[in-house]
């Protein structure tokens, strides 16, 4: 997961897939810097 270390990350989660906050937690663990995170409903 070093690919995310110290990188700025924009997250768009999916209501019926993986929501934003869940991706956010993973990105933080991998050392990424979340600058925007939201969950969208595509239906």
């Amino acid at each position: 997961m070093a690919i995310l270390k110290d990188k700025k990350v924009v997250i768009i989660g999916d209501r019926d897939g993986v929501p934003g906050p869940a991706i956010e937690e993973c990105v933080k663990t991998a050392g990424g810097d979340v600058i925007f995170s939201s969950t969208e409903c595509f239906v």
């Binding site: 209501r15 897939g17 993986v18 929501p19 934003g20 869940a22 937690e25 409903c41 239906v43």
Partner: protein, 510 residues
């Protein structure tokens, strides 16, 4: 005793002109990019009424085919018309746009809808011929005005135009000069939601065979808000629709929760009936004009017809236990709580695994799951994937994690415990409830023992919380007969055998 699913209705109104004039994808495009290719090409991609009727998923929605039959149709569906399709189905109908506009006027209590008198004259007989449209509803349609008067309201008085086959035939006027909550746009949206809810209520009464006066309470669970500047979401679409549908003994209220609204409302209705507060409750919802053509840009780009061209409605009648109809088991309620979190595992866990675990059931003990039942014909070309399938994969993964099925069984889980999506992308409409009509029949026929209905809601869209939401409940075969009999013969035999055994054991000990 648990309350029962007495019956259900599912209705569509084919509204291609509202796709162009009222769907937010299109209205937004007109503001942001008024000369776009999409807007130019849009009309050429609208389906005729016949094509809309012949569309497999629509025929499933109104009950002319089972979802299992749809699963056998080769994907995509839009280019494979269903033979012998009909306007009317056992659950409802697909109403043409002209007749729906007349129904909308019958639902207008404040004279905000003005129709061209020639348009009214041309379509009133067809409207009156609809089997659920009663004389008192037809009588609410007024004769109409000169087209020039309609044009005046649209051009000079901020009215929303009503169109049929590309021509202006009427308008929805604003209900207040400065209150944006009563603007022509909001009035249009709310009256169309109300009208589709009325149609659903009428079919639900017909389908269940109850008298209109039997309905004591109506819950509207759509996603619109009505009120004025001092109470923007004041509400009670429920009672407003009940009035037009002629449910004279009913009161009601609205329940809201985005797409999860219907599942919340059905649990509330089941509890109201089980508690004895009301004997018969109708849970109803009309459609959403804003969502018409929501994925239209992708459909046009890929050369598909505009598939989101229908307003949808549904109604489920919950009544006292009749000893026959499938019941809602309130002991098995899934709930996504404030503390649940948003990880997919937590979400599915709270809605599916946790409620079953509380009553010592496994995920595989549920024969059919009905989560978000969106039609993949609409969502896949738009990049949102097959939503029901995504839900089934998640449920199957959880079952594997809990050691209830082997990893290899994940592949067959969607087919065995799932359904192919057929519902229009009208927000709350596809959320768990489209299967209730079929589930009732499948259980009565012994095809399945039970079904779990799952509703999910995107609360974050309202910008009040980042939380997600969802609730679930289980429909099961009627257990009323067992409840009534007290102790069964088998149980008596068991008790005697146990007493004899204990007696023998005590003799041996002595």
């Amino acid at each position: 005793m648990n309350s029962v699913i007495k019956g259900a209705s599912y209705v569509l109104a084919h509204t291609p002109e509202m796709v162009i004039n009222n769907g937010t994808t299109q209205t937004t495009e007109r503001v942001v990019n008024p000369d776009s290719e999409y807007l130019k090409e849009l009309r050429g991609h609208l389906r005729s009424y016949e094509d809309c009727v012949n569309y497999w998923p629509n025929q499933v929605y109104i009950g002319n085919a089972h979802p299992d039959e749809l699963a056998k149709v080769e994907f995509p569906y839009y280019d494979k018309p269903k033979a012998d399709s009909e306007r009317y189905g056992k659950y409802g109908e697909i109403m043409p746009e002209a007749e729906f506009i007349l129904l909308a006027q019958a639902c207008d209590m404040f004279e905000v809808i003005e129709l061209d008198k020639e348009f009214v004259a041309a379509h009133k007989d067809a409207f009156a011929a609809d089997p659920v449209i009663t004389e008192d509803i037809v009588a609410k349609v007024v004769e109409g005005v000169e087209l020039s008067e309609v044009e005046h309201f649209v051009n000079d008085e901020h009215a929303e135009g009503l169109y049929f086959e590309g021509k202006l035939v009427g308008c929805v006027k604003r209900a207040h000069d400065i209150d944006s909550n009563l603007s022509a746009h909001v009035m249009h949206e709310n009256i169309m939601s109300k009208a589709s809810s009325v149609l659903a209520l009428l079919y639900a009464v017909r389908n269940t065979g109850i008298d209109k006066e039997d309905v004591e309470y109506v819950i509207d669970c759509a996603e619109e808000a009505c009120g004025d500047m001092n109470q923007r979401g004041g509400g009670n679409f429920a009672k407003a629709a009940a009035e037009v549908a002629g449910l004279m003994k009913a009161t009601g209220s609205d329940s809201r929760g985005f797409c999860a609204g219907p599942a919340h409302a059905l649990i509330e209705a089941a509890a109201l009936v089980k508690s004895g507060a009301y004997k018969c409750v109708a849970v109803t919802a009309g459609g959403c004009t804003a969502k018409l053509g929501m994925n239209g840009k992708d459909h046009v780009k890929k050369g598909l017809p505009i598939l989101e061209d229908c307003l949808a409605g549904f109604c489920v009648i919950i009544a006292e236990n009749d000893g026959v109809s499938p019941e809602i088991n309130l002991d098995i309620l899934g709930r996504h709580t404030v503390g649940t979190g948003s990880a997919p595992q937590n979400v599915i866990g709270s809605l599916v695994a946790d409620p079953l675990e509380r009553v010592d059931m496994k995920i595989t003990d549920i024969d059919k799951f009905s989560p978000e039942m969106q039609n993949p014909d609409i969502t896949k070309p738009a990049g949102a994937g097959d939503v029901p399938l995504a839900n089934y994969k998640m449920i199957a993964a959880l079952a594997v994690k809990r050691g209830e099925i082997d990893k290899a069984a994940m592949k067959t889980f969607p087919e065995e415990h799932g359904l192919t999506g057929w519902a229009p992308t009208q927000g709350h409409i596809p959320s768990g409830v489209p299967y209730i009509g079929f589930a009732r029949e499948d259980i009565l026929e012994g095809k399945i023992r039970n079904a779990m209905i799952i509703g999910k809601g995107s609360l974050f869209l309202g910008r009040m919380t980042n939380l997600f939401d969802g609730v679930s409940f289980v429909i099961q075969a009627n257990t009323g007969a067992e409840d009534n009999s007290g102790v069964s013969e088998e149980e008596v035999k068991g008790l005697i055998a146990k007493a004899m055994k204990d007696f023998a054991a005590s003799m041996m000990a002595e």
